[in-house]
């Protein structure tokens, strides 16, 4: 089928600003670290920008990693985007970043490329990070990700089973040319999965340390911060969480990415049921990034639609007043556009009964098993003390 071409593209002021930021980062003696800083959701250059703008800058930075080399500090951003990114171009760019890796890829990098293709099936579009003139044929995000798998070849070998399954069950979702390329990519991965020793272990299940190191006690400012729950009940952070280990995560009801906030709250609901079933003395809570918009009735509806049964141990909350103290105290990865969140990572932390942060999971989707283990550990630590 003949491809149509995208409309003529002229560089917007936004794109020119991104060019400037990338240029400055490239001039930095440690250009890799400077580029990673451009990805930080809290950085000033993201403040007040639209989600589309922050996505575009992310994509540009990922492309740079593909060309200049992928620093290890950037890998969590890349895997995060492949795992739960929504914008097709940014996800494809994250795939390209893997081509700059000089060290063995984490074992889940290849499978995440395949899961990204699967996720984008109904949402594919031409990539926007390549310069296009009228008449230029640009690859689509799925074509680009397929090309990345082809280029990675055996380095992406752990993707083999997932790719074979994708081709077996979903081949009708791809046009003949893409199917042929996916089959070629499968062939390039080799006939058997590489032994695990050829790949770096994935850190999916390992929580990062708590802010300020393990056993970080929350600041006084935060413990007195007032939170309101889905029923309009107000209590300070300390009153709400002291005395019981709690898994706390963050979300906002306007989030349009089903892999982020919606899934987070649905999993939190499921986690709460498992805690009840196991009769553990623990709790779960979700706190909104968008407290002015997420009023109690919105929180209640949003949680109920995702299976939450509210109780003192299972609640959705918002701050009364600004959200910023939480960002600083808990080292949250979130940035804000003109009205609401423009970019955020996944953040889940487990605080023990003395309000010490015992585990902090960032960027990657968390499993209920892992968080239950964190909660058990936090409970045990408290008892030992």
């Amino acid at each position: 089928m003949t491809k149509t071409t995208a409309g003529s593209r002229h560089r917007s002021a936004d794109e020119r600003e991104h060019e400037r930021l990338i240029h400055l980062a490239r001039q930095d003696p440690d250009s890799g670290a400077a580029l990673v800083r451009l990805l930080d959701e809290r950085a000033p250059h993201h403040h007040g920008r639209s989600t589309a703008s922050t996505n575009r800058l992310r994509a540009r930075v990922f492309i740079e990693f593909g060309d200049l080399g992928l620093p290890s500090a950037a890998m969590p951003f890349v895997l995060e985007e492949l795992e739960s990114g929504l914008d097709p171009s940014t996800v494809a760019a994250a795939g390209r970043a893997l081509l700059g890796a000089t060290e063995p890829l984490p074992t889940d990098a290849g499978p995440l490329l395949v899961s990204a293709i699967e996720r984008l099936r109904g949402n594919d579009e031409e990539v926007r990070f390549l310069a296009a003139n009228v008449g230029t044929i640009l690859p689509t995000a799925i074509e680009d990700l397929t090309g990345t798998i082809e280029q990675l070849g055996p380095s992406a070998a752990p993707a083999r089973a997932a790719l074979a399954e994708l081709l077996e069950h979903h081949q009708c979702c791809f046009n003949p040319a893409v199917r042929t390329r996916l089959e070629a990519a499968l062939h390039r991965l080799g006939s058997e999965d590489r032994p695990p020793c050829c790949h770096a272990p994935s850190d999916t299940h390992e929580p990062s340390t708590a802010p300020g190191g393990n056993d970080a006690t929350l600041t006084t400012d935060l413990t007195t911060l007032v939170l309101e729950d889905q029923d309009g009940n107000r209590a300070s952070f300390a009153e709400r969480f002291h005395g019981r280990a709690t898994a706390i995560t963050f979300f906002y009801t306007r989030c349009t990415n089903p892999q982020r906030c919606s899934l987070t709250v649905a999993r939190l609901a499921s986690l709460a049921r498992r805690i009840d079933d196991a009769r553990l003395d623990c709790g779960v809570a979700g706190i909104s990034y968008d407290p002015r918009y997420d009023r109690p009735d919105r929180l209640r509806t949003y949680g109920a639609e995702r299976g939450m049964t509210f109780s003192p141990r299972c609640s959705l909350l918002r701050t009364i007043g600004p959200f910023e103290p939480l960002i600083d105290a808990l080292d949250l990865g979130v940035g804000f556009g003109p009205v609401t969140v423009n970019q955020h990572r996944l953040d889940l932390m487990v605080v023990d009964s003395d309000l010490c942060v015992r585990a902090h999971r960032t960027r990657r989707l968390w499993s209920e098993d892992d968080v239950l283990a964190d909660l058990n550990a936090a409970t045990g630590v408290t008892r030992a003390q």
Binding site: M1, T2, K3, A52, R121, E125, E126, R128, A141, V339
Partner: protein, 294 residues
């Protein structure tokens, strides 16, 4: 436009909808597409069909500037309908979106509008940029301000709020009203919406949009403003009716029974000659009774 009771309006709307449906079915049946006509696809669709040739044909018609405008719009509509096939349409989706992005800058205004609308519904960043550029530089706008804001309103993130503020300040009529609808997603605009809701010199439509927006953004603030409007015998029936309906819907736990307000509304119910105000007052009093019984 005279005030109209909401139930009566709903009845009229449903009758109109039914009439349109009947006409639409007749039109489609009479057209009896011959092979190769854009709309033909839907009639011949079958799970075993290969969509490729049909999609290619429709894309060719949609992008052919020498074709009749109706054919091109029909092709766009048919392609849009094909999206409902889900996985079967997936292989062609990228090309479809690229075509829409091209058509968003088509010389024909109706084609541009149709393409931009479909892109806006999927919150396409390219379309968003085109629309925002048009609001910033009206000379290069692809669609009128009001339409651009309507399309940008599909983005729940409120990224169009800064542009909406500018349009609100510089425009009148439909564009200003659409700007207000966008500002309804911005908690920072609550004070302005409250002021507009209470401002008797504002157009009735502006006040009602502001009331609905405020009710969603800040129910407590809305309740205060609505009580004032309802109690003001000099205010207009439309906004009093809107305010009463909002108060009737507001059944939050913190709302304590309020005898003064109930008395005001009871009096209004018996004294008002406006059917809309009477109907809203009835609704409010019924809701109050229900609340006190539970």
């Amino acid at each position: 436009m005279p005030a109209i009771d909401v139930d009566e309006y709903r009845n009229r709307y449903e009758q109109e909808l039914e009439r349109t449906r009947t006409q639409s079915t007749r039109t489609k049946g009479a057209r009896s597409y011959t092979d190769g006509e854009p709309g033909d696809f839907i009639a011949v669709d079958d799970a075993r069909d290969d969509l490729g040739p049909r999609v290619a044909q429709l894309l060719a018609v949609a992008t052919d500037r020498d074709r009749k405008i109706d054919d091109r719009l029909d092709a766009l509509q048919a392609l849009s309908a094909l999206e409902f096939l889900g996985a079967r349409f997936s292989p062609y989706r990228a090309e479809w979106v690229s075509t829409l992005r091209t058509l968003a800058e088509d010389p024909r205004a109706t084609v541009r509008r149709s393409a931009l609308e479909q892109l806006a519904l999927r919150q396409d960043p390219h379309a968003r940029e085109l629309l925002l550029t048009g609001l910033d530089k009206p000379a290069s706008a692809l669609v009128p301000d009001a339409v651009a804001l309507q399309f940008l309103g599909h983005d729940g993130h409120g990224d169009a709020v800064p542009a909406a503020r500018k349009v609100y300040r510089r425009s009148k009529g439909a564009a200003r009203e659409e700007a207000l609808r966008i500002l309804a997603t911005d908690p920072g605009s609550a004070a302005m919406l409250e002021r507009l809701m209470k401002d008797k010199s504002e157009k009735s439509s502006v006040r009602r949009i502001s009331a609905a927006a405020l009710q969603d953004l800040d129910p407590s603030r809305f309740e205060k403003a609505a009580r004032r409007v309802v109690a003001d015998d000099d205010d207009f029936n439309e906004i009093r009716s809107t305010s009463l309906t909002g108060l009737a819907l507001r059944r939050t736990a913190e709302s304590a029974p309020d005898d003064a307000l109930v008395q005001t509304v009871t009096k209004l119910h018996s004294s008002s000659r406006s059917p809309a105000v009477k109907a809203s007052a009835s609704r409010f009093l019924a809701a109050t009774r229900d609340r006190s019984e539970t």
